[in-house]
């Protein structure tokens, strides 16, 4: 088994004729928060969606190169993307719990469909477990049958995190999880990241360098589809090697 949670080799991504990701070799160690930062439109979301083969939803998108998840190329022959997605959970820029499913069912649906639990008791237990992991249980335990509309933005996002955790993935991909969440909700989610990285590898996309500095162990700076610089967060923020990185972390480049 590989030492890295995620490894990409000569990864290129196209939308039609446009090359969006221009040859990226990236290594994400296990059990860290790895922040991917960069200005709007540089390809962060696109890159992230290559890791769980979610790009396949877009007929225009084409992937070249390799993405190794825990040592296995997910674009290799005979790989079932559904197995990949059970290992790699995802949280989105816009909090998107299913509005027509109860809080309980939002967490339970993936478990039910994938037959990951054997009994109602086990399902109840796993739902509780996932909600606890996402620091949400205490706030919703009395109203599991309510709909997500009754939750705040931050709570919705933690519900989405619980939905992802329920499948017991190894890796969590988070695409600007706090972009649509108020400051208090943002702090809670950031605290949650510290807890989660003990057991999971987290790739966090952000366009705020400050957030990357606060929560990540490693950071990669993406600019116009190229990985300009990668390294320990502290080092990158203290003495960036690349001029572009320096401009970005000091807020000159937006």
């Amino acid at each position: 088994m590989s030492d890295f949670a995620i490894e990409t080799k000569k990864l290129r991504i196209y939308y039609g004729e446009n090359e969006i990701i221009k040859g990226i070799d990236l290594k994400v160690p296990k059990n860290v928060v790895f922040a991917l930062m960069g200005p709007s439109g540089c390809g962060k979301s696109t890159l992230l969606r290559a890791f769980n083969r979610l790009l396949e939803l877009n007929k225009e998108a084409r992937v070249e190169g390799e993405v190794l998840i825990l040592g296995k190329n997910v674009y290799g022959n005979g790989v079932n993307p559904i197995d990949v997605r059970k290992q790699v959970g995802m949280v989105f820029q816009y909090p998107n719990p299913f509005p027509h499913l109860s809080i309980y069912d939002n967490v339970a649906i993936g478990l039910k469909l994938n037959h990951l639990v054997k009994s109602k008791e086990e399902l109840d237990e796993r739902v509780k477990w996932a909600l606890e992991k996402a620091f949400l249980w205490d706030e919703v335990k009395g109203r599991l049958d309510d709909y997500p509309a009754s939750l705040s933005g931050g709570q919705k996002q933690r519900l989405v995190i619980a939905r992802a955790l329920a499948l017991k993935p190894k890796i969590l991909l988070m695409d600007e999880p706090t972009a649509n969440v108020d400051p208090i909700g943002t702090r809670k989610i950031e605290e949650l990241l510290f807890e989660l990285k003990r057991e999971y590898t987290i790739v966090l996309v952000t366009h705020e360098p400050m957030q990357a500095a606060r929560v990540s162990d490693y950071v990669g700076f993406l600019y116009l589809g190229k990985l300009v610089e990668v390294g320990l967060t502290r080092e990158i923020f203290e003495k960036p090697k690349h001029e572009l990185t320096e401009k970005y972390v000091t807020g000159v480049l937006v």
Binding site: N52, L54, L57, I82, R85, K86, G89, M90, F92, Y94, N96, P97, F98, P99, H100, L101, I109, G110, L113, N114, Y147, A149, V160, R163, A164, L167
Partner: protein, 312 residues
Amino acid sequence: MSVLQKIKRIDGFKIITSPAVMFVFLLFAWMLIVYFYNALPAFVREGLATYFKNVWQATEEASKEHYGLLAAIWGTVYTSIIAILVALPLSIAYSVFVIDYAPKKIKNALIVLSDVMAGLPTIIYGIWGVFVLVPLLQKYVMFPLHKHLSFIPIFSSPPITGYSYFSAGILLGIMVTPFASAIMREAYQMIPFTYREAAIASGMTRYEATKTLLGYIKPAIFSGMILAFGRAVGETVAVSLVIGNTFNLSIGLFSPGYTISSLIANQFGNAFIYEHMLPALYAAGLALFIIGLAVNIAGLYLFRKWEKNVRI
């Protein structure tokens, strides 16, 4: 406040639209009153039997005339229920196919096609029903079902002519599918992409994701079904060609029957010959109003209830 300010405060659209709304409302009330007024003699003469008895005695001796609409009311409800049971899977399948699976080139062609189908004169469906659909159904569906499953009450009546509740219901189901699917298609297309991503990212198959997303547009599916039901209830020409026009009160799918609309269309020409028939036909019309109103109110009520729970 100056006059100018006052004038500015008057909302132009409100001025134009209010009378139009009033007009529509008055028209509706007026029609309802006309129907009720003209049906009154029937209610006075027959009482509740007008709606709850199956009898149709048209004779020249006025005192022996009796009209009770139960068979037609039953036929209307029965065929319309069959119709939405047919239209539900068809319209969902059509919507999902057009949006998710159809190649770009034929997508628009399919949408135009279903709009054309919706607009076709109903006599076209009726004639196709008589010459194509009914014989096919009779031979390949009704006879086999009756032969092997006649111990089940709904299959117990023999499909002698093929003209039946079943034929009418199936034909209606086909006719209302384009209307139902137009609503569902719009709603399905409007589902934010992020929910599809969420479904797929949670390890769902394409089929499971689609099923989950259909849950999201349940209200639209529901509205589509109500619209379909309303159209099925009101459809006249095509139905009267394939239902058999018999005062029958049967649970047997393959029995001939009547619907309110087909009854009115068939009997209206003779109504003036008899002393008491016309009020009965007005009462039939009133029953259509009531069914339409009841279905829509029930739909609205359920929709509200849903909306209260799931604000998106």
